[in-house]
């Protein structure tokens, strides 16, 4: 009898040891990159994985933030160039590449213009035309070179702002961290960027709503996805009003003013997070026609959901079967 008791106790102890870290789901909510983030992880070791993903995002925030102390980007902006970490150099160079692919619609060198508008402050305002023109001369993706881990600016007074691609990139890295930890089902929301890892625990696709640019409380459609990023850019996300006009934060690099292409909301669905983030901004700036050309040039390897000012919605054929848009006029973009 004693032996059985001892054996059972040993078994119980071993089970406890094996059980450590075994959890069904974990959720962590925190602030980073100027917005709320939430990571929900399912499966064994969920809590640890969620914490690791959070740490990854926070360290990336430190690296890319325009204002953080010790940020690589801030250092480079203040000294007109400099050495950065390998990861930072890689992302900057990728961002420049993506920028070139979009014909300059996605431009990380707009910092002087963004600052002229005061979008990083609490009091944005329409800039003085002369100040804006001056700021415009200090931009241009062609004027930035990345060589190894050195970033050089060809003009004085330039600056990079990774805001339009950092969140996407961070979401992707967080997803990688989760996958490395053996997680096969998780949902990451970084502000308006959504990243899905695998499918839901029951195997069904994640249902991601696209916020309506017309009514913040409603959504335009729901797209069912798995293992990819869903990133939406829209002027309605950040804007200010002055003298009866509305000015939003997505600047058209050609004019220096908030983009006015007829697109009010651009969503990209793609496995490449940085691309999804960058292109959502680019499409917003480019307008529907140029966006469709971009889509075909890219061999249709990403999908888009574009909402136009008149309320109509354009959806690329790849994702069309997964979009639910009750009561909305949806046009399919075919190859």
């Amino acid at each position: 009898m004693k032996r059985i008791a001892v054996l059972l106790l040993a078994a119980a102890l071993m089970l406890s040891a094996a059980g450590c870290g075994r959890e069904k789901s974990a959720s962590v909510q925190f602030f980073s990159m100027d917005t709320i983030m939430e990571i929900t992880v399912y499966g064994k070791g969920a809590q640890k994985a969620a914490d690791a993903a959070r740490a990854e995002i926070e360290s990336l925030d430190a690296m890319f933030s325009v204002s953080g102390t010790g940020s690589d980007i801030r250092k480079v902006n203040e000294s007109g160039g400099g050495a950065v970490s390998e990861e930072c150099a890689l992302l900057v160079s990728r961002a420049l590449e993506l920028g070139a692919d979009t014909g300059g619609a996605f431009d990380i060198t707009l910092l002087p213009v963004i600052d002229a508008w005061g979008f990083h402050t609490d009091d944005p305002a329409v800039p003085d035309p002369a100040a804006l023109a001056d700021a415009m001369t200090r931009t241009g993706i062609g004027a930035v070179t990345v060589s190894g881990d050195m970033i050089t600016f060809a003009k004085d007074g330039m600056g990079i702002d990774m805001g339009a691609v950092a969140k996407g990139y961070a979401a992707g890295k967080a997803a990688e961290t989760l996958k490395k930890a053996g997680i096969t089902s998780a949902l990451i929301t970084l502000g308006g960027n959504v990243r899905t890892v695998g499918a839901k625990p029951d195997g069904s696709r994640w249902r991601v709503a696209v916020q309506s640019p017309f009514d913040g409380d409603d959504y335009i459609c729901v797209v069912s996805v798995e293992d990819c990023a869903v990133v939406t850019s829209g002027g309605y996300q950040r804007y200010f009003e002055q003298d009866g006009n509305t000015y939003h934060h997505i600047i058209d690099p050609e004019t220096g003013y908030p983009a006015d292409s007829g697109v009010v909301s651009a969503t990209i669905v793609c496995g490449d997070d940085a691309l999804a983030d960058a292109f959502s901004t680019a499409v917003y700036v480019m307008g529907a026609e140029r966006a469709q050309r971009l889509w075909r040039e890219y061999d249709r390897s990403f999908d888009m959901i574009i909402v136009l000012r008149d309320g109509s919605v354009l959806v690329t054929e790849g994702i069309m079967p997964f979009v639910e848009a009750p009561g909305v006029a949806v046009t399919e973009i075919k190859r």
Partner: protein, 177 residues
């Protein structure tokens, strides 16, 4: 004598723990929080009759602590303790009223009280009195699960009563009611 009871108690604790951990792997049956079979409670009520209230208490508390460590859900321990202690508090006097043949009845009262204790703790922690409404489905579920686990305990008990080694280990007098 004492060592035998300790071993018996340890044995039951281990059994309860294993059962608890295994049951914890099964996902929740319904959206109502706390609806589960609670098989580990059959060990508690068994211990109440086979060893006595003090040992049953010890087994319950140790199982809850180890169980929350084993499943990695330490916060759940608060609710388990609240439910378990209240349940035992109610079961102890009932044990004197109901003989071993009616062990399942005591288990039903215990299960319903257990759910009640958990809801009370939840209401206190979240300050949401609306949660009390869950007592309706939880009473129904408590009756069913309590009856089932109680019958398991009772069945085991009546079978074991026929064995000599059981009596020796659990230090029970033969023919004790």
């Amino acid at each position: 004598m004492k060592i035998k009871r300790l071993v018996a108690a340890a044995l039951l604790t281990a059994a309860a723990l294993v059962v608890f951990v295994i049951e914890a792997q099964v996902p929740a049956l319904t959206a109502v929080p706390g609806v589960k079979l609670g098989l580990a409670n059959s060990v508690t009520v068994f211990a109440l009759y086979a060893l006595g209230p003090a040992d049953a208490l010890a087994i319950l508390v140790v199982r809850i602590i180890l169980g929350s460590v084993a499943t990695g859900q330490l916060s759940a321990a608060l609710f388990s303790l609240s439910g378990g202690l209240l349940s035992l508090a109610v079961s102890m006097p009932l044990r004197r009223v109901f003989p071993a043949e009616r062990m399942w009845v005591v288990s039903v009262f215990g299960a319903v009280t257990h759910n009640f204790g958990q809801i009370i703790a939840a209401v206190a922690v979240t300050r949401t009195p609306g949660l009390m409404w869950y007592m309706l489905p939880l009473t129904a579920s408590g009756i069913l699960t309590g009856a089932f686990t109680g019958l398991c305990a009772q069945f085991l008990y009546s079978r074991l009563m026929r064995s000599d080694s059981f009596h020796r280990l659990f230090s029970m007098q033969k023919n004790r009611k």
